[in-house]
């Protein structure tokens, strides 16, 4: 039985390509929570994030034929979820990208060891959409600035600026929270 179940797992892309409803349900159950987490990191509203996940799953099942098996199925599906979220933000919100700043200034990013636990999602939610998109693509999806500039149709310099400003703003929020916590203790 274990052998059979193992074979079935390995054959999931093949079954999905045949539009097998059982395979689709298996794939959904296995990935929905993770994909919702990914969607939520881009979209601050949970309901809208869920809508994006629904659309992404429909797209995954519809375009499964284009999956060539070069990477993992989950990785391929995750990219579809991310694209769906980006499309949602582009279509539903006006995103402003601020002017780029000098390279020398970008190099002066001040980083420090964190001393207390914080809610990552809370920090992300406080970022503007433009900052959040670039930050997530760079930090969570490991895209290069070149790739980000192509995805968001911005220049590489603007992509770097957005990332810098996102980090700066997050740090500011983080230290404000740290200060307020210390004040509460005393």
């Amino acid at each position: 039985m274990k052998l059979l179940s193992g074979n079935k797992k390995n054959d999931l892309p093949g079954r999905l390509k045949k539009q097998d409803p059982a395979a689709q349900k298996i794939f959904y159950d296995r990935n929905v929570k993770k994909f919702l987490s990914v969607s939520r990191s881009y979209i601050s509203d949970v309901y809208q994030a869920e809508d994006c996940v629904i659309k992404a799953f429909c797209k995954i099942f519809r375009s499964i034929e284009s999956f060539r098996g070069e990477g993992s199925l989950e990785g391929w599906a995750r990219r579809i979820v991310v694209n769906e979220c980006l499309n949602f933000i582009k279509s539903h919100k006006t995103v402003f990208y601020l002017d780029d700043i000098s390279e020398s200034y970008l190099g002066e990013i001040y980083e420090e060891d964190i001393a207390f636990d914080f809610d990552a999602q809370d920090l992300l939610d406080q970022l503007p959409d433009a900052y959040r998109m670039v930050f997530n693509l760079y930090v969570l999806e490991n895209y290069s600035h070149q790739e980000i500039s192509e995805i968001l149709r911005i220049s590489i310099a603007v992509s770097k600026t957005q990332l810098f400003r996102a980090k700066e703003k997050m740090r500011k929020i983080y230290f404000q929270q740290q200060k307020s916590l210390q004040n509460e203790k005393f």
């Binding site: 629904i54 799953f57 429909c58 980083e111 420090e112 990552a120 999602q121």
Partner: protein, 204 residues
């Protein structure tokens, strides 16, 4: 740039990679509904394409056959006309007055369909009458003698021809036709290339 093991950036990545969010509603049922809708819309699109093709094809066929039937109409008119003339010419010995007396309705029915037809049918009738008279040319003396006898018939033919000619206020009778044969200057060619002798009645 300083590199720390536990930066904000790394902490965010760690937290979000480990995180899983349970959906607040049944997403699977919505996925099923949406995918089914898309399938049905795709099917409907195919049906619409097929229906449009059938409609355009049928319209094309209808228009094509309509054109053909319009082209056929003049031929049928010609077919109707030719036998009518032939039938009349097929009785050369029949006297024109007799012919008109025997078939007064026929001449009227031929004229009825359209004003153009009326104009065309009248010359054909007259040609018949002229032919009749030509056949009797040999006995012109006898005809001249009969002219007086035909006066009464003439009146009848006059009245009949008045009905036929209608608005033109012209009529032709056998005697005038005979006259026109003898005096060719009076014969004119109509648009239909048929000889028509039109003489105005002076009253005598």
């Amino acid at each position: 740039m300083k590199n720390f093991n536990n930066t904000i950036e790394q902490e965010i990545r760690k937290q979000l990679e480990e995180r899983e969010i349970i959906p607040s509603r049944d997403l699977w049922s919505e996925i099923e509904v949406q995918s089914a809708e898309k399938k049905s819309t795709a099917n409907i699109n195919w049906f619409l394409v097929a229906a449009c093709l059938v409609l355009t094809f049928s319209l094309g066929v209808i228009l094509f056959f309509n054109k053909e039937s319009k082209d056929e109409n003049p031929e049928t008119v010609a077919e109707i006309r030719i036998p009518a003339v032939q039938n009349k010419t097929g009785q050369p010995s029949v006297n024109s007055s007799e012919f008109l007396n025997q078939n007064p309705k026929k001449s009227i029915t031929v004229e009825k369909p359209s004003p153009e037809k009326k104009e065309k049918s009248l010359p054909s009738q007259l040609t018949v009458e002229r032919k009749d008279l030509l056949l009797n040319k040999e006995s012109t003396q006898a005809i001249i003698a009969n002219i007086s006898k035909r006066e009464s018939e003439k009146i009848f033919v006059q009245s009949d021809s008045e009905k036929i000619s209608g608005k033109k206020k012209r009529y032709v009778d056998p005697s005038t036709l005979l006259f026109s044969v003898e005096h060719k200057d009076a014969i004119q060619k109509s648009k239909g290339k048929s000889n028509v002798a039109s003489i105005e009645i002076s009253g005598n």
